[in-house]
Symmetry: C2
Subunit: 224 residues, 2 copies
Amino acid sequence: MLNQDSIVFLKQILNFWPHLTPDEQDFLLDTAQELQFSKHQIIHNGENHCAGVILIKKGTLRTSLLSEEGREITLFRLYEKDVCILSASCLLSNITFDVQVCAETDCDVVLIPSSVFSKLAQHNIYAENFSYKVATERFSDVMWAMQQILFMSFDKRLAIFLADEAARTETTSLRLTHEQIARYTGSAREVVSRMLKYFAEEGIVSLSRGEIKIIDKEKLRSLI
Amino acid sequence: MLNQDSIVFLKQILNFWPHLTPDEQDFLLDTAQELQFSKHQIIHNGENHCAGVILIKKGTLRTSLLSEEGREITLFRLYEKDVCILSASCLLSNITFDVQVCAETDCDVVLIPSSVFSKLAQHNIYAENFSYKVATERFSDVMWAMQQILFMSFDKRLAIFLADEAARTETTSLRLTHEQIARYTGSAREVVSRMLKYFAEEGIVSLSRGEIKIIDKEKLRSLI
């Protein structure tokens, strides 16, 4: 059973709530679960079961695409009040690809199991429409990522990444390895190291073991 | 007014038809248009108006992503009985990117103007759901394209492109410039030329001015 806080949260996020019958509402509240994910936990991947629709109460989820050789491209991140629908991709008849969803931070979520959401969507067009609408929103996110990856020169991408990361973590000292940055920006470690060296030479950042310090914000922004 | 053939076609493709009121059905039939597009005609792009939902009776539409510098990546093609929804992207509140749609062949289509579809979708959840469901299908197409582009080595991509092209045009002599292939495969002309030269050296294709002849289908397939 959900606590009162989670019930309020669920009704707020699932905007089709008023279109559910009382029975459907009870069914949803009886079967939804409060869960915690710990940082770096893998929540969904191709081989895994189709867990369900995840409503994020607190924390960040990261969705990425994995190649057969293990290369990883970040597609988008989801934050508080966002809905993760690709972890319930088996519900969406048109979704034929698979992605990995992992917890980027510790997370508090409400999970609606796939079997539950599937039943609702089959009988209630508003619930079905909610899932396709959220999926279409993610489509936009992915197209954005794709444009970044395909068309932007890497200095610009790296500058955007560092600026975003600094804003998100509210610090100018980023504790990230080059390997991690490569993973996040869809690049290779060597490329990241080379570009960071260039940024350092330009006086934009200073580099020390395991840390990248932004020392000229203006110059960084000018690249974006 | 649509001819009888197009009316039957429209009812078949728009599977929410039975959920429309008689007034909505009349409104749709009164405002839908038969159109012809000629080969290479640009039907939709970022700056253009949001034409509407296009139902393809005959022909092929190609959807691509354009960079600011004019680089072009093919995302997917749509064929007979497919629905082009991104040409009505203004209807989908969550679609915030823009793409180009162009006619790859001469096309016969039925167009439902955006203003018409918008009215239907606002009042009829089944119509709205149809548009998001089709958009989600395109999401799958784009993810497929993205995986091709990001993760596949280029020899594989080029082999797939040539085999597809040969199958589609039912010939082994492809009249395509290296520039065109680069555009279609999201690569650069130099890269295409280099790889084609390699394919020629391997006895997979033979090259002459403006023509690529596939001479060893089996070897081409072995790359895929």
